[in-house]
């Protein structure tokens, strides 16, 4: 027995019960219209099995709550790339009653009409929303909505989502389309379009355009003038580098202080308040307090500590994207990134990664194709973030006092080489079905404009919510697990949460893992424990070393340095400098931190995150072993 509505529900997937699907070319104001319709009632969802984000929300239409989905910008429904396939699948699979609102750009009407022809071809009810009329009028072009509606055969309304909500204009035709009898037969198709269909649609577009007034000749626009500078062969590249440097500086300068200030607040005053609260309730002092403060509260502190930095980075990205500069960056950086098979825009997440990997993973969403986002997301962890610098600084100062700067420079260089080599490798192994390895650069440059603040705000708020909701849970659970490992006594007859680290499950596990680090000259359980803690956060690795040595707070640095030197001398059989280099290279290449893992899981999915972590560990071990084995011969 078949059930058409069950089928619709099953195939609609993350779109749920969306009855209005907003479709259009990139940069035509779809998201602005979507925000105008739904206000704050929206959330981002990933299309199943992809890195593609769709936004769904609720529109109060005539007293009824109507689900609206904002689909990614596309030029066609030809299922060649994952993103286009997602739009095509959404149109194919959504509720049969759902109406497609196709946003038409008055300044690029024939391009919009080509997509409209395909959407009409799906058999779904369609309402067209004509935008950018003011810009078209400034350029001497007037389009009459009624003439256009007659020519295309579907209702056409004119909207200006940046000035007026657009809801009023759309309400009537959308309500009517929703109430219309459900189409009996809809065209379903698989794979790329037949050439005959493509030719037919082009002919249809030309037929429609012939019924409209001819486009006046193009005059030089302010955007053209700005592009003469920003895309100039000799000016464009320095401006681009300056913008990237600004992003990098913002992340490095803000990341460290912001993160440690909030973590200190959570670990200091808040922890003390919780502790005394528990004491007052008569449940303080035991394992419960340890679990609450060292597990849950530390986890919440980590989640909270990333929020200001994330907000800062999302704002910067939103401005670069919303203003139109991002597309220019794609042009300027195209050649350099093409070498490793990536889009020019991939420079942004990678640059941000050198400050902090956590927002960098999210920044891969600026990339236009699923495969590009995946490769960039897998490469970000190899960018040496500022937390790793604390590890380098400690070890370089201890083992290479005269040449610490050179060593650290070498590590950053290694990081860049790892990104480049990784790019080449992933290019071979990471396939997007039917997606070309590297698309040619064919990019419509949107006119420069002031970023729409409402859209900017919604996107920042949604991304922060997503981080707290999804990454936050992973971080808190992992920190509680870490706490438990360190609190559970395995030998020596200690009580729960009152056990020396060496006798805890964590210490015993580190002891078991230590021999695996022997080829790196690091076969010591202190080092294994520090590297395991470094999985939570790199700056924690230093603290963990101190903790496993139980050095007192007063003389921490010299005592830690001395015991580090002694340990590495022992483990490396007299080659402590080679072992220290191996430690730094390992710290550079292995999993950056828990928050990055949580972000990867959010953006790339569980499978690719697992593969990514596996590759990181193998690369870190092999490189570390190589560095130590070569280093001890020198």
């Amino acid at each position: 027995m078949t059930c058409p509505s069950c089928d619709a529900v099953r195939s609609s997937g993350p779109l749920g019960d969306a009855s209005v699907l907003i479709v259009g070319n990139p940069n035509v104001g779809k998201s602005t219209l979507f925000n105008a319709l739904t206000g704050s009632h929206q959330r981002a969802v990933n299309a199943p099995g992809t890195t593609l984000e769709l936004t769904v929300g609720t529109w109060r239409l005539g007293g009824e709550a109507v689900g609206v989905a904002d689909l990614p910008g596309t030029f066609s429904l030809d299922a060649r790339s994952v993103d286009e396939r997602a739009v095509a699948d959404a149109l194919d699979g959504a509720d049969p009653h759902a109406v497609a609102v196709v946003v038409l750009d008055a300044t690029a009407l024939s391009r919009s009409l080509y997509l409209l022809a395909q959407v009409i071809g799906t058999g779904r009810p369609v309402v067209a929303a004509l935008t950018m009329l003011d810009v078209a009028r400034d350029r001497g072009l007037t389009i009459d909505a009624r003439t256009l509606s007659r020519a295309v055969g579907v209702p056409v309304v004119t909207i200006d989502p940046r000035k007026r909500p657009g809801a009023a204009e759309l309400a009537e035709p959308v309500s009517r389309a929703l109430a219309a009898p459900r189409p009996t037969e809809r065209a379903r198709r698989a794979g790329p379009f037949a050439e005959a269909d493509v030719v037919r649609w082009f002919a249809w577009v030309e037929g429609v355009m012939a019924q409209l007034p001819p486009e006046p000749p193009r005059r030089v626009t302010p955007s053209d003038r700005i592009d003469r500078v920003l895309l100039h062969p000799w000016v464009g590249v320095p401006v681009f580098l300056a913008v990237m440097w600004g992003l990098f500086e913002m992340c490095t300068r803000a990341a460290g202080p912001l993160i440690s200030a909030i973590a200190a607040f959570a670990g200091g005053p808040v922890a003390r308040a919780v502790s005394s609260g528990l004491g007052a309730l008569g449940v303080g002092g035991g394992w419960f307090e340890g679990l609450l403060i060292d597990g849950v509260l530390t986890g919440l502190g980590v989640v909270l500590s990333f929020l200001p930095l994330l907000a800062l980075v999302f704002t910067a990205l939103g401005i670069l994207d919303g203003s139109g500069y991002l597309s220019r960056a794609a042009v300027v950086a195209d050649r350099a990134m093409r070498v490793i098979g990536l889009d020019g825009r991939a420079v942004l997440p990678l640059m941000i990664g050198f400050g902090c990997n956590v927002p960098a993973i999210e920044a891969t969403r600026v990339l236009p194709h699923a495969r590009q986002r995946l490769v960039a997301g897998l490469l970000v962890p190899y960018t040496s973030c500022s937390a790793r610098l604390t590890v380098y600084l400690l070890l370089a100062a201890a083992f290479f006092p005269g040449s610490a700067g050179t060593v650290i420079f070498g590590l950053y260089l290694t990081s860049i080489v790892l990104v480049a080599v990784g790019g080449l490798a992933f290019r071979k192994f990471v396939g997007g079905k039917g997606e070309p390895e590297r698309e040619s650069l064919v990019l419509v440059l949107p006119p420069y404009q002031w970023p729409d603040l409402r859209t900017l705000w919604h996107s920042i708020a949604e991304r922060l919510r997503g981080f707290v909701r999804e990454a936050g849970v992973v971080i808190v659970i992992a920190l509680v697990a870490m706490w438990a490992l360190a609190a559970i006594p395995v030998r020596g007859g200690y009580a729960l949460a009152d056990v020396p680290i060496a006798d805890s499950a964590f210490g015993v596990g580190a002891r078991a893992a230590a021999p695996a680090l022997a080829p790196l000259g690091l076969g010591d359980w202190h080092v294994a424990a520090a590297l395991a803690s470094g999985f939570v956060a790199k700056e924690v690795a230093v603290g963990a070393l101190a903790e496993t040595y139980a050095v007192d707070g007063q003389g921490r640095a010299p005592a830690l340095t001395a015991s580090l030197k002694e340990t590495l001398s022992n483990t490396s059989r007299g080659h402590p400098r080679a072992a220290a280099l191996a430690f730094m290279v390992f710290a550079l290449a292995y999993t950056p931190c828990l928050a990055t893992v949580a972000q990867m899981r959010r953006a790339l999915g569980r499978r690719w995150t697992t593969i990514g972590i596996g590759v990181q560990l193998v690369v870190a071990w092999v490189l570390g072993a190589l560095v130590f084995q070569v280093g001890r011969l020198l």
Binding site: S76, A108, V332, V442
Partner: protein
């Protein structure tokens, strides 16, 4: 003559698209089809070319610009 050879400011008519099938599809979708007139707005870094088509500006990398055959208007 190819689009990559056209000096800035000149208008030409596209006569044939010779890029990869994916690039040809994309070029046609955004409106750069044989018979269409374009003007070279800007020659950018590393051989990239920006052309005006209607009211829009389209950026193409060097290889794609080399694969587009054009004729003088």
């Amino acid at each position: 003559m190819h689009l990559a050879d056209v000096t800035s400011g000149r208008s030409v008519v596209i006569s044939a698209l010779g890029a990869s099938p994916e690039a040809v599809t994309r070029l046609r979708e955004i409106g750069l089809r044989p018979g269409v007139s374009v003007r070279v707005l800007q020659r950018s870094a590393f051989g990239a070319v920006v052309v005006a088509h209607g009211f829009s500006s389209v950026a193409l990398d060097r290889e794609t610009a080399r694969s587009i055959a054009v004729e003088s208007q």
